[in-house]
């Protein structure tokens, strides 16, 4: 394994670390590496780094490695870790912030998941609400799996669970404005 030169890495990671700390409000230095977060994380089995290891990378300023990990995309935001952390570190919030920043920097380790959220928000911006059929179709088409989950479609339509047309709210100006206002404040949507 490659040896890490910690001092240089620390210096290099400062800027992003500051950004992460400010946006998340989470001080990584509080973490004492007990692993309770990982031990209870329902997604840990699929992660390339455990949630504790993500905290460790952030502690040492190894930000690129943290931002490039799959883990931050796989986190299900279930809050199990934050609920149980003995040091009251909000790990879930850290994951969320890392993902937002990773996206901003163009590190997207899980393209498909990212696509899903993009399409979701597009739908919300356009219609004020989510059009689930459109979302699933779009996701599977853009995701190059046009037939995945397709078998649910007909029965869903039959059960009245999917509407072929989007539900929109009459005047969606307000929601569009929310998106615009967030963008105005620097939000990258």
């Amino acid at each position: 394994m490659e040896r890490i030169e910690l001092t240089a890495a620390w210096a290099e990671g400062q800027e992003v670390l500051a950004e992460v700390t400010k946006e998340s409000g989470v001080r990584a230095s509080k973490c004492y590496q007990c692993g309770k977060c990982t031990a209870g994380c329902p997604v840990a089995f699929a992660m390339d780094k455990t949630p504790r290891e993500i905290m460790r990378l952030v502690q040492l300023g190894l930000m690129d490695e943290a931002l490039q990990s799959q883990t931050i995309w796989l986190c299900a935001s279930c809050d199990t870790c934050s609920t149980r952390c003995p040091r009251e570190v909000d790990i879930a919030r850290m994951m969320e912030t890392l993902r937002i920043i990773a996206k901003r920097k163009g590190f997207v380790a899980e393209k498909k998941m990212d696509l899903f959220h993009d399409l979701f928000l597009k739908s919300v911006e356009k219609n004020g609400r989510v059009h689930e059929l459109g979302l699933i179709l779009g996701f599977n088409i853009y995701g190059m799996q046009p037939l995945k989950d397709a078998h649910f479609g007909p029965s869903m339509l039959l059960k009245g669970k999917l509407s072929p047309l989007p539900h929109t709210i009459k005047d969606n100006g307000e929601v569009k404005k929310i998106f615009a206002n967030v963008r105005k404040r620097g939000g990258k949507l």
């Binding site: 007990c34 692993g35 990982t38 031990a39 504790r52 149980r84 003995p86």
Partner: protein
């Protein structure tokens, strides 16, 4: 003419790095009353003190200002110094130019020097107003009180008694012994706890200088060092200790069973009971909450079978008041309530237990006769998981501190699992292994190396029941992978916490406790067994988590302090107390309820006014009780109360020196 000497200390570079000490000494020469001023590297050191004494003689100084550190540490030093130089100790003032100046303004020498000069100026103005004060003395009652009869209390009592003083031990429970009596074997030598504790219990019980007052609690404490008046509530035992021979017939015949606290409720005891076989006194007590006779008026079997007619249902609590010269608090600890860990299912899953439960499972006279068996079904567990730091080092759900003993007792437990259960696995989830102490780390190393316990670095996140197994989820942080263990039993190394009534006792006796309700020592390094209250000392786990060797060492230390106090016939009292100007006191009594030490009452005096004798009420300060806090001086509307050494005039002189 008053002649003040000013002595400015450099404190090595502690002060001189930030303050120009020579300049301060130079500036002081111009202050009114100053006859001599100088600076020196270490004023508290022998040469520094000599310097002061010499100057007193040669310069004919009659009052002294030392500009140095906080008076907390060295005021007594310099008071002794000027006393041996021939001055009254109270003609000393200290200007704190370290904590109040150099340490807080390290970066601006010029202004720090100005500030230090001002501080000296104030001290000079005050010392000019100081008066010689004389200490008086009070007699010391040569009897000590030890509260709590655990190993710490027992040791303290034995040491005090061996030095020839009378000592009373007040123990809340029916027997002395404390937690150590519950422990099976003791680390790091694995000798049997009862084998080393019982002889001490017997010694203390048989010692001619010791009175054991068990099943009793402190009700009220008045007075002060040398003379504490303590009221003790002797709870009704319902058994006449003098008549009872401890034959145990009553216990055998009593029909009422209740879970035994001593056995961590894994076994029953009777309503008339002794907590454990080696109890001292080995005479029973009736638990009136569960006794049939007290609940329904029926039964009384114990009374009928007692051959000496010792059972007495009519006994009542008895209050006795005794005077003591010194008090040792040795009230020990409780265990943290693990049920806040919903994720561990403590209280829900029977086989998730605490370390103390486990001690009882190991013990030959415990619920399983010393065989490690599961509380749920009595099966012998093959895979035992230990989780350390439960309730400790956990700000979210428990305490921030480390409980200090659990690393070692968990190593002990893991060793015993491997020793007692063939083909067993002992897994220990840990964050750190903290085993400083003689022979301790070697003990831990044997646990893994010789006994093959598996240590896994990580905190457990969840335990749940699956069939008759307990599934434990952790992370092996050294591997960086989530791990799972199918356990048969889980033992939580539970935090040591202060007794539930610790704060109450501290308030009653009048000493301080920390945010965790552990008792506060007077100084963490230099006065570890003293409290801030003179005459009250600490021993054992009531001051913070501790193992037996440490508790015993601290108990002996506390005993020495007690003996030191009791070896004197009388002791000097601090003259910095409140004084009443009888001429202007209107007797309004405002000060009486304000005094936290109940040192003030109203007395009646006779006066001749216009040729007639009249009587009127005035405030009266008890010099033994007054601690010199000054609360009364603020409350007094006619300014009749003044605190000696901090009189209104003295304080105003300081203010004037600074502001005028």
């Amino acid at each position: 003419m008053k002649r003040v000497g000013v002595f400015v200390c450099h404190c090595g570079t502690n002060i001189s790095a930030a303050v120009d000490c020579e300049k301060v000494a130079e500036n002081a020469k111009s202050f009114p009353g100053v006859a001599y001023s100088t600076d020196y590297k270490y004023m508290c050191a022998e040469p520094g003190q000599e310097l002061i004494k010499k100057a007193i003689k040669e310069q004919k100084l009659d009052r002294i200002v030392v500009a140095s550190c906080s008076p907390r540490m060295h005021e007594p030093t310099f008071r002794r110094c000027i006393e041996s130089g021939g001055l009254n100790a109270y003609l000393l003032e200290m200007a704190n130019i370290r904590e109040h100046c150099s340490w807080v303004h390290p970066d601006d020498k010029e202004r720090a020097t100005i500030k230090a000069t001002d501080l000296v100026k104030m001290a000079v103005a005050k010392v000019m107003q100081n008066e010689a004060l004389v200490r008086s003395t009070i007699p010391i009652t040569k009897r000590a009180l030890v509260i709590g009869g655990g190993i710490a209390g027992i040791q303290a009592a034995l040491d005090i008694a061996n030095a020839g003083h009378i000592v009373d031990v007040v123990e809340k429970e029916p027997s002395i012994g404390g937690r150590m009596a519950q422990v099976d074997k003791t680390f790091p030598t694995l000798d049997c706890s009862a084998c080393i504790l019982t002889p001490k219990m017997v010694d203390v019980a048989n010692h001619p200088n010791v009175n054991l007052i068990t099943y009793s609690e402190i009700e009220k404490v008045e007075g002060y060092v040398g003379n504490f008046d303590v009221t003790i509530r002797k709870k009704a035992r319902s058994v006449d200790l003098k008549a009872c021979t401890g034959c145990g017939t009553c216990i055998q015949k009593c029909p009422t069973k209740v879970p035994s606290e001593f056995e961590m409720e894994m076994m029953d005891r009777k309503a008339i009971f002794t907590p454990f076989p080696q109890a001292i006194p080995n005479k029973p007590v009736i638990d009136r909450e569960s006794c049939r006779y007290f609940k329904s008026g029926k039964c009384g079997v114990c009374q009928k079978v007692c051959p000496t007619n010792a059972v007495d249902f009519t006994q009542e609590d008895e209050l006795v008041t005794e005077r003591y010269g010194a008090i040792v608090a040795a009230t020990g600890f409780d265990l943290f309530d693990d049920s806040v860990y919903g994720e561990y299912g403590y209280g829900k899953y029977k086989d998730v237990i605490t370390g103390l439960h486990f001690e009882r499972l190991l013990n030959a006279s415990g619920p399983t006769m010393g065989k490690i068996k599961r509380p749920s079904d009595g099966k012998i567990p093959q895979n035992v998981v230990f989780i350390k730091c439960v309730g400790s080092r956990d700000e979210a759900k428990g305490k921030a501190y480390c409980s200090k003993t659990c690393c070692m007792y968990t190593a002990k437990h893991a060793t015993l699992v491997r020793e007692k259960i063939k083909d067993s696995n002992a897994y220990v989830f840990y964050m750190d292994v903290r085993t400083p102490g003689k022979g301790y780390d070697e003990f831990y190393t044997r646990t893994t190396d010789q006994y093959g316990a598996k240590y896994i670095r990580g905190r457990v996140s969840k335990i749940y029941e699956k069939g008759d197994k307990l599934i434990v989820w952790g992370e092996d942080t050294l591997l960086g992978r989530p791990v799972e263990i199918e356990a048969d039993m889980v033992v939580l190394a539970t935090a040591m916490v202060a007794k539930a009534d610790a704060a109450k006792l501290a308030q009653m006796v009048g000493f301080s406790y920390d945010q965790n309700n552990f008792y506060t020592e007077a100084h963490p390094k230099l006065a570890p067994v003293e409290t801030h209250t003179a005459g009250v000392f600490l021993a054992g786990a009531c001051q913070g988590p501790k193992d037996i060797p440490e508790s015993v060492a601290q108990a002996s230390a506390a005993a020495v302090k007690v003996c030191g106090l009791l070896s004197k016939e009388e002791m000097p009292t601090e003259p910095i107390i409140s004084a009443v100007n009888e001429a202007i006191c209107s007797g309004c009594g405002m000060c009486v309820p304000v005094c936290p030490y109940t040192a003030i009452d109203l007395k009646v005096i006779q006066e001749r006014v216009h040729g007639k004798t009249v009587s009127r009420k005035i405030a009266n300060v008890n010099s033994g009780l007054c601690q010199g806090c000054g609360a009364c001086t603020v409350a007094c509307r006619s300014a009749a109360l003044n605190l000696k050494h901090f009189t209104n005039e003295q304080i105003l002189a300081e203010v004037d020196a600074l502001c005028l």
